[in-house]
């Protein structure tokens, strides 16, 4: 890192966190961070980048994607058929080659995020037993900062602590687990449902009050128990929730109950599009949008934030920690299917899928995603995501920007999808268009705030100098898919999509304070049920490469 001064001069700056909405400003950078403009007018920067006429934003932040770890890597192995027809990522003198398709290889993932102006991404579903694997892949995922969420919604120790009504033990365990995995936030996937899947053919829970056999707990208790513990541990991102009944007609009532189960505690409902369906009993003819009903609840409950999980038409790969969902999807698509159950912790399902614009279901999923962006009034509480690669690739983000900013184009696309969408959703009635400032919020400033990343998502003094500079264009997809410059921690890493300096990027994780007295009990439990030793479980500090501990504080 150089301590020399770097000035980005005369750009049109969007920095919603600091109330800057398209004003011409200079940015000063030193030691990888934004610094105040020197008060001494004779001080000259060592380098100046003329950004006049260009749009300057903080680097993009993807707060929910699947880019590393066991599930992603299995999907890479499983889908050779899509790689030979996909874009080729060529080796250069300084960058590695790679493969694309719906599940890019590690180096390609880093290059493509950076090339698109994103500088931070979080993998959303990691069984802590495989944490080491993720850290290894992260080290081979250059250019971006990254972190991951730790699967806890079907963890045996947590369910037992809830059953035995020991909230303090739950809290200590959660603190220990996040520290041991060097993870960022607790993630709940189909709470209780994955454990039932492990116990029974086609097993799952079906409501917030279904009882999980053997552990005698309900999804509602799991959600509440973890929400409380996360709040007391002061986690920067409290709890990331993939609710029960994903993808099923009529699931919107479960989603509403999940929001209510938070009882005012902070919680982030992820890929909410997949959880906003009316209809029932597997009857396709009744499938419809309940985005409006749910959005009204979100609008009136500031403790809740969401990301969308936008569906885009085309082929992709479904991958989830929701084991029973994988089974369901593989039966729907009659496709190859991967499932893996991780002891004490989690499940996993993977299947190739395709979204077709002639299909009513798929067209509605696409429309419901857009409804969510357009119906949540406060852009600080809705985040852009495709749940990469589940709804589509992260490479589709520029296209989503255009759909949100250009009503005419949106309506043109709407005409090409299954016409029943107009009856079953209100997308055709929504004429809201996003401003650049609002796009900046839902792709960087908002996710940074929701994640508790105080030094990201903005361009104020002290912020990481992660900056994306765009050439303005009427077609916002063109503008956002190929930034003119991308700067990471003060280094120029991309010019017009070409990687200039493949910096490594760092891993972001938390290390909450917890009662270490719990460790003896965890060790006993470990020796009884786990297949690896307690001592060999935690990812130790010396294992980490470039990394940063994000503080747990109010």
């Amino acid at each position: 890192m150089t301590s020399s001064l770097f000035k980005i001069a005369g750009g049109t700056v969007y920095d919603p966190t600091n109330g800057v909405d398209g004003q011409v400003r200079d940015l000063w950078i030193a030691d990888g961070r934004i610094v105040a403009a020197p008060t001494d007018p004779t001080v000259r920067p060592e380098r100046t980048l003329d950004a006049s006429g260009m749009v300057v934003m903080p680097g993009g932040i993807d707060m929910h994607c699947h880019i590393a770890g066991p599930k992603v890597n299995v999907a890479r192995k499983m889908r050779p058929e899509e790689k030979r027809v996909a874009e080729k990522v060529m080796r250069t003198a300084t960058t590695h080659s790679g493969t694309m398709g719906s599940v890019p290889s590690t180096f390609a993932t880093g290059y493509k995020y950076a090339g698109m102006g994103y500088t931070t991404a979080f993998d959303a579903a990691i069984p802590p037993l495989a944490a080491r694997h993720v850290h290894e892949e992260f080290d081979d995922t250059p250019c971006i900062d990254k972190g991951f969420y730790v699967l806890v919604g079907n963890n045996h120790y947590i369910m037992r602590a809830i059953q035995e009504q020991e909230p303090e033990r739950l809290k200590a365990f959660l603190g220990w687990l996040l520290s041991a995995a060097k993870g960022y936030a607790p993630k709940i996937v189909n709470p209780g449902g994955v454990e039932v899947w492990k116990q029974h053919q086609g097993g799952n829970v079906h409501s917030l009050d279904s009882v999980v056999e053997h552990f005698d707990v309900t999804p509602r208790q799991i959600i509440r128990g973890i929400a409380l513990a996360a709040e007391e541990l002061k986690l920067p991102h409290r709890m990331h929730i993939h609710a029960n009944n994903l993808g099923l007609p009529g699931n919107w009532t479960t989603t509403l109950e999940t929001m209510k189960a938070l009882e005012g505690h902070g919680g982030h409902l992820t890929h909410i599009q997949f959880h906003s369906y009316g209809g029932g009993d597997g009857d396709e003819d009744t499938f419809n949008s309940k985005a409006r009903e749910l959005a009204e609840y979100v609008n009136s409950h500031p403790n809740i934030t969401i990301d969308v999980g936008q569906v885009m038409f085309g082929k992709t790969t479904s991958m989830t920690g929701d084991g029973p969902l994988g089974y369901y999807l593989s039966n729907v698509y009659k496709s190859k299917w991967f499932s893996s159950d991780t002891e004490m912790e989690a499940g996993c399902g993977i299947a190739p899928i395709e979204y077709k614009n002639k299909s009513l279901i798929h067209s509605l999923q696409w429309a419901i995603g857009l409804e969510w962006y357009l119906m949540v009034e406060d852009p600080w509480r809705v985040v852009m995501s495709t749940d990469h690669p589940n709804g589509g690739s992260f490479m589709a983000y520029p296209q989503i920007v255009r759909l949100l900013m250009d009503r005419t184009w949106r309506n043109d696309v709407l005409k090409t999808v299954n016409p029943l969408v107009l009856e079953r959703s209100s997308l055709g009635d929504l004429d809201r268009e996003y401003t650049l400032n609002e796009i900046c919020i839902i792709t960087r400033a908002g996710p940074a705030k929701i994640l508790g990343l105080k030094h990201k998502g903005h361009l104020g003094v002290g912020a990481d100098a992660d900056i994306t500079i765009y050439t303005p264009h009427d077609n916002k997809e063109v503008m956002f898919e190929l930034p003119r410059y991308v700067i990471k921690a003060g280094q120029m890493i991309v010019e017009l999509g070409e990687i200039r300096d493949p910096v490594r990027g760092k891993t972001l994780h938390v290390s909450p304070d917890y009662d270490h007295g719990v460790e003896a009990d965890i060790a006993d439990w470990f020796e009884k049920y786990y297949s690896i030793r307690f001592r060999n479980y935690p990812v130790t500090e010396d294992y980490m490469h470039e990394h940063e501990t994000i503080a747990c504080e109010e």
Partner: protein
Amino acid sequence: MSIATKKNTAPDPSLKIVQDATCTFCGCVCDDIDLSVKDDHIVEAKRACVLGKSWFFNHHTDTRPNCLISGQPATIADGVERAAQILAGAKYPIIYGLSDTTCEAQRVAVGIGDWIGGNVDTTTSVCHGPSGMAFQGVGEVTCSLGEIANRGDLIIFWGSNPAESHPRHFTKYSLMPKGMFLPNGRKDRTCVLVDVRKTKSAKAADIFLQIKPRKDFEALWVLRALAQGLELDAASIEDETGVPLSAWQDLMDRMKRAKFGVILFGMGLTMTRGKHLNSEAVLALVRDMNAYTRFVAKPMRGHGNVTGADNVVSWQTGYPFGVNLSRGYPRFNPGEYTTADTLARGEADAAMIIASDPMANFSQAARTRLAAIPYIALDPKETPTTRAATVAFTTATYGINTPGTVYRMDDVPIPLRPAFDSPHPSDFEVLSQLERRVKQLKAAVRIG
């Protein structure tokens, strides 16, 4: 990497104890071994099996030079320079082996393959490669080994002989453990062995089905048919598989009654007639069974870190083995880019063999080709492959001398806790130097 060392209170103060060390001999990757180390010898390996003990006890530091060029002692720097020249100057260089080294070293090796535009292939291509291909066809329903310990009430070994190849698999994962849902351990489980001969593992099984050699595919499809309730002709089934239809029906009844069934399959299945079709039949059968109960499958992987190799090659290139990078991006084609084939067809013109001994176990045609081209070998031991190498590096042994990461057969990553230092460099160190030099040479070519 942390090295857990605790001063023992035992009388001998010169003994170093390494608790929960990891054995990398087979795919079980047992991480509960307590080593007692005296100077540079391991004198005790608590809980290790007979294979593990021989792995730990018979490891003594080799007195060979760190590097040999054409059989003559050389410095590591000279060896790296010569190796880099060979790899960077070749038209079709290949990199092979990788399953007995750390993921850290594997990552660098795949990187070298990328910079030189060569082939990257691992020993997977000669063991469970067919399972990898079958996996790409139908997927896999599987689990971590702890799930088998806690839930598996019907355990079927097919074409694998863990009593001799993975001795602690029974006690640690699959048969003996008292699990969360199997409080009586072995008594709560039924074990079935299917194989073409009565191996030592038969003693551990409740039921042994001896099928005709090279009839695994047919036998598995009999089970798939029975799962669907199809009527089969008893005489032809017995004639074809060597096992009466009633025995197959009994097995299918047990499979449907099981709460959590498991098929653990070995090279007896993947390396006999049918190969990937056999693996595909197992994976498809297990998938089918999930319409009736919970059922999983798992290949019994052999080498200590072959699973790590699959993972590393996959995350860097998108493909698990048999990867070609000569066009500047990864391509995958088993049979074309797998090492036994590129050598036997006389295509490869330089090679780097890491922790593997193809000179001892490849076909005559492949060995002849390897002997005729310049190649580099990295191995802790002297082997037929190191003896004929142009540049041979003697490296430290992973898990005994070097830290790092290995992946157990169920993809669980496990850290290594080395027992004592080696005078030799690690694979990672040699490969890292080599990568730097190869990159320089390749960049110079580009500019030139």
